[in-house]
């Protein structure tokens, strides 16, 4: 019997795995943002000494994972499994990073929700006794995402105000059993929610219902109240998507305003950095969690948070065929 399953969509970890170490690395623009002090490494050249944006992104993952391993005073060989994913076709950057790292690898595609998808899977593996040290990682790169999903960098067009800015960066978290936290205690796996939004330049609005749905289900399943959390933070809804999500939650009877934020809003300075709706991409929630939030948990400034990475599962093909954007959000409870 599934003793660890709770309610409709939630898993309760009976032997909560600890996040023993994290690594985060970001690009130059993120390095000028308000969270700059919390990242392990800020690269100045967004090609990172590589020949292409895709290889640069792959190197970001490799460095983030290596950084997390170093900080835990482990060796690459100590890592038993790796969950990784990114936005590129066939997970190019994760696969190429895994090729170099030579760690048993499971690729995930959850668009920008990959960080919590990876954390949930890794936590299940450790809690279930299948592994002792598992790394969950993800990355995104502004330039590689632009060329796959949008327009060439040098094209002189105007970005709509609802558009978001793909974060260049990668975060990695190592899960293991440990006496000291922070621990992953619950994971709520989201359903795909699609309210028929077609505009790929307004992903916040497309993803907000998915985020609200997962968060409500999480509260219903676990009996935890919004006020029990120090922070409920979504992945990359951006400024407009966050407003919508708060309203949708209020409609369902959950009041989360003061302790509700979004990684995409936190990572950039909206007034100075011209990022319109805010940051997005797999790397957004990854670096904000692995950099900023993890340190706040360690310092006990935050004691219990709900990280809800949100993903828009569209492709250039589906967008050109005029299909709406299916969205998903996975929530993970992390507490000290």
């Amino acid at each position: 019997m599934a003793v660890k399953r709770l309610g409709a969509q939630t898993i309760k970890f009976l032997n909560p795995p600890a996040i023993i170490s994290t690594g985060s690395i970001v690009g130059p623009k993120e390095g000028q943002g308000p969270l700059a002090d919390y990242f392990d490494m800020i690269i100045q050249d967004d090609l990172f000494g590589q020949n292409s944006w895709e290889l640069a992104e792959s190197k970001l993952i490799r460095e983030a994972v290596t950084k997390a391993i170093d900080k835990a005073e482990l060796k690459i060989a100590d890592i038993e499994f790796m969950f990784g994913g990114d936005l590129l076709n066939q997970l190019m950057s994760s696969c190429f990073a895994a090729r170099d790292l030579q760690v048993p690898f499971l690729g995930l595609y959850g668009a920008c929700s990959t960080m919590t998808e990876g954390l949930s899977m890794a936590a299940m593996m450790v809690d279930g006794g299948f592994a002792d040290r598992v790394v969950a990682t993800t990355s995104s790169h502004f330039s590689s995402a632009e060329r796959q999903f949008r327009f060439p960098l040098e094209l002189g067009n105007q970005r709509p105000l609802t558009a978001s800015w793909t974060v260049t960066g990668s975060g990695a978290a190592i899960l293991s059993h440990s006496e000291t936290g922070p621990f992953i205690t619950y994971a709520t796996i989201g359903k795909i929610v699609d309210y028929g939004i077609i505009d790929a330049n307004n992903m916040g609005a497309a993803m907000a219902p998915a985020a609200a749905d997962t968060i409500c289900t999480h509260f219903d399943d676990t009996g935890i109240l919004p006020s029990d959390y120090d922070l409920i933070i979504t992945g990359d809804l951006g400024r407009y998507g966050k407003e919508i999500a708060v309203e949708l939650l209020a409609k369902k009877g959950y009041n989360a305003v003061v302790n509700f934020s979004d990684c995409g809003i936190e990572i950039f300075d909206h007034k100075k950095q011209d990022t319109h709706a805010g940051g997005s991409g797999c790397g957004c929630s990854a670096v904000v969690f692995c950099g900023y939030l993890y340190q706040q948990l360690k310092l006990k400034n935050l004691k219990k948070i709900l990280l809800v990475s949100t993903g828009a599962l569209f492709s250039p093909t589906s967008a050109q065929q005029g299909e709406s954007i299916p969205c998903i959000a996975h929530a993970v409870t992390i507490e000290i």
Binding site: N51, S52, R147, F151, P152, L153, E154, L155, G156, N157, Q158, R159, P160, L161, T162, Y195, G196, I197, N202, A205, P209, Y240, E243, I244
Partner: protein
């Protein structure tokens, strides 16, 4: 019935999102487009006059030469990474003139250089400008045929 409710709910949400989305400042954007577009056209006229006077060629030949020079300038500014910055401010002001056409060809060509000169640069070059060429040339052929039929 269930499905109908669902679509109704979706429609309501889409309407709500539309209301919620921030509106661009049209007046501000139009002023920028007007002046930048105007400056580009003035430069074009200056080039045209200069070419026509200094080379002593016909008005039509000077027009063709001007087109070439403006495309060259657009391509150059794209190459050194300035045109996208102008475009961000000017919008249609720098997209509509022929320099914008040059930008739409050079930018994908630069972007896909890593995929090689055949499948990257050459194949992707007309990613954005291709539709303009296809429908531009097609409509000019149709108009030409109609003109021919009317004259005869």
């Amino acid at each position: 019935m269930q499905k109908k409710n669902q679509t109704q709910k979706k429609k309501e949400y889409q309407k709500y999102v539309e209301q919620k989305a921030p509106k661009p400042n049209y007046v501000h954007n139009c002023i920028w487009a007007f002046f930048v577009g105007g400056i580009i056209c003035t430069v074009g006229q200056f080039v045209h006059n200069t070419v026509e006077d200094s080379l002593g060629i016909t008005h039509l030949a000077a027009t063709n030469a001007t087109t070439l020079i403006m495309i060259g300038i657009g391509a150059f500014l794209t190459g050194i990474g300035i045109y996208d910055k102008i475009g961000k401010k000017a919008g249609a002001g720098s997209i509509v003139p022929i320099t914008g056409f040059a930008n739409s060809i050079v930018s994908p060509a630069m972007e896909f250089k890593r995929e090689g000169y055949v499948f990257g640069v050459a194949a992707r070059m007309f990613n954005l400008a291709g539709p303009v060429l296809v429908y531009g040339i097609t409509s000019s052929v149709i108009v030409g045929l109609i003109y021919y039929l009317i004259i005869n």
